[in-house]
């Protein structure tokens, strides 16, 4: 059971609780305090009555029903969708199986080519050299404490954003590969 917490006081607190109160979501001492306040406050009592009327009107006004004809055909249409989805899955499986039987060299060749491309991309991502500087540079000879906020690396350069919290200084440090 979840406990609802309200942080306002007086009429504002009670009004925020009136909806949950009508919905049966306010219980115990809180429910009693709402009831006690509503009994003694004309404005909150009128607001509760307005909410009650709205609820009754909504329940009557929103109560649409499925038509008899639609209800009769409902299951049949659901079943048709189930069969349709299953036959699509089956169709893809059959197509793959048939392709393997009719054109095995082409299918295996395509799969191998795809595997090479995936391996190449994955290898490039995994083996790309990355510069990992220490998160914090230790102060040397009274130099200010320096924190590395971010590092962004490209193929030929890396950009470091450093800051010195004590002096509120930001340093942008660009390391670029020398062009020959």
């Amino acid at each position: 059971m979840t406990t609802l917490v309200f942080k306002r006081s007086g009429c504002a607190a009670v009004r925020a609780r009136l909806g949950p109160y009508l919905d049966g979501q306010v219980r115990g001492a809180k429910r009693q305090s709402v009831e006690a306040h509503v009994d003694s406050c004309g404005n909150c009592s009128a607001e509760l009555q307005r909410l009650r009327t709205l609820r009754d009107e909504l329940r009557r006004g929103m109560a649409v029903s499925i038509s008899h004809q639609d209800a009769e055909q409902f299951w049949e249409k659901v079943e048709r969708r189930i069969e349709g989805a299953k036959s699509t899955q089956q169709g893809i499986a059959d197509w793959v199986r048939e392709a393997f039987q009719l054109y095995p060299k082409f299918v295996w060749g395509s799969a191998a080519a795809l595997g090479v491309v995936v391996a190449f991309v994955a290898g490039d991502l995994l083996l790309r050299p990355t510069i990992r500087p220490p998160a914090t540079l230790a102060p040397m000879n009274g130099a200010p404490r320096t924190v590395i906020e971010s590092v962004e690396g490209g193929p030929n350069s890396s950009v470091f954003l450093l800051s010195t919290p004590d002096q509120q200084l930001k340093i942008i440090w660009v390391l670029e590969q020398e062009r020959s």
Partner: protein, 193 residues
């Protein structure tokens, strides 16, 4: 509300188990049990009869196809409503994308209601229904969904939060905002009449 789903969860559990081992008639029973409620939820989110039927049927089909992943920690209807609400909200977003001028509230809500309305209903009830439908159509889709799950389905805040994948505080604020807006819209309408 009249028929709370809680009464049926024990039986639902057995029907779900039978569905999992391939008994499609068990799932048919679940569909027939919840089709009206699912349609009502979808209708109040989409405010369009055909779209509501479409989304409700799709939700049941998806529930069937992924029933093996349903762990039964919550009731079947909570799980079903979650699929349904997600589909319906996605549908309203797609509708906005294809027709940005239309927002998420469809045209001629009152006219749509006549299609599904009870022909025996009194004139007063029909007028009330049309007034409410216009006011509800003016709400943002998440407020409308929370309001439907509360007022039409009679679900608790915790169930609504689980279905809408949000906190109970968010449910409370959506319901509060929805009721404030409805009071304002219905009040304005009554004054201008």
């Amino acid at each position: 509300m009249g028929s709370t789903p809680e009464r049926e969860t024990a039986d639902d559990h057995e029907l779900v188990q039978r569905t999992k081992v391939g008994d499609r008639s068990a799932f048919e029973t679940l569909v027939r049990r919840y089709q009206d409620r699912a349609y009502r939820v979808a209708y109040q989110i989409l405010l369009h009869r055909e779209d509501a039927l479409d989304v409700a049927q799709e939700a049941f089909a998806r529930a069937y196809l992924s029933i093996d992943r349903f762990r039964q920690s919550a009731g079947f209807y909570t799980w079903l409503y979650r699929i349904l609400v997600n589909l319906a909200i996605d549908h309203t977003r797609a509708r906005v994308r294809t027709n940005p001028l239309n927002s998420d509230a469809p045209r001629s809500v009152a006219a749509q209601r006549d299609v599904t309305g009870d022909p025996g209903a009194s004139l007063e009830t029909k007028e009330l229904g049309e007034r409410i439908a216009r006011a509800v159509a003016s709400l943002p889709v998440h407020q409308r969904t929370a309001l439907t799950l509360r007022e039409i389905q009679g679900l608790s805040y915790e169930e609504i939060a689980r279905i809408m994948n949000c906190s109970i505080g968010t449910v409370m604020s959506r319901l509060y905002a929805a009721r404030q807006k409805l009071q304002q819209v219905l009040g304005d309408e009554a004054r201008s009449a």
